[in-house]
Symmetry: C2
Subunit: 128 residues, 2 copies
């Protein structure tokens, strides 16, 4: 790990990208599953109990609880138990850091492609 | 699955969010790993062979090959074998769809929170 960090040490922007890695691990893994993205979309319409969600996605309560737990641990969903019913709600995580990481990746990709183009231009110039 | 799709049927925007799910599954899972994010960051500086990457991240060639394969299958990295050396390069995937999905999620979250606030305001008005 120290070696991996050293490898990008010269780039402050990249260190920043690594900084949030625990969080990014959790959130990206949470939204990498189609059922979990579906749950977020469903909760965007209204709050729902675990039972509602299990029924909407044709799953067992146990299976749904696992998905909700992953979403809750990543901060994408909060739950509240009143009596015997656990109600799920979207938020509070807004995924801003995730957008930021992707944005920085896109900038880096852009500058890398520009560098390659410039290299190809120079090479072309030399062979003329 | 049909049931899950029906659950969001009334919301065209959400159907759009589901549309790319195979791709989103792959890309979000690909960037959910700190080593793979590190590889992308490293390749943003310059192309590198599998051997370079394995050494930079203190991994075996076999381990690095697995990470590169996942990045390649998701379109985040391309590789080219010349002689005995396989060179890795960032791109071509720009993660635009991923940003779009997150953006739509954020809009949905925003409108959900607004709806909850309005509900609370109305409730407060009634109890006065």
């Amino acid at each position: 790990m120290r070696k991996a960090l050293r490898a990008v040490g010269a780039f402050p922007i990249l260190n920043h990208m690594l900084q949030y890695s625990d969080r990014l691990d959790r959130t990206f893994a949470a939204v990498a599953d189609p059922t979990r993205r579906g749950i977020l979309e469903r909760l965007g319409r209204s709050d729902a109990s675990i039972t509602d969600l299990a029924s909407a996605f044709d799953m067992t309560l146990t299976g749904m609880k696992k998905h909700v737990k992953i979403l809750e641990e990543s901060g994408l969903v909060t739950t509240e138990k009143v009596g015997r019913v656990r109600t799920c709600r979207v938020g509070p995580l807004r995924l801003d850091e995730e957008t930021k990481w992707i944005g920085m990746y896109q900038e880096m990709l852009e500058s890398r492609l520009t560098a390659l183009e410039e290299f190809l231009e120079r090479t072309k110039g030399r062979t003329r």
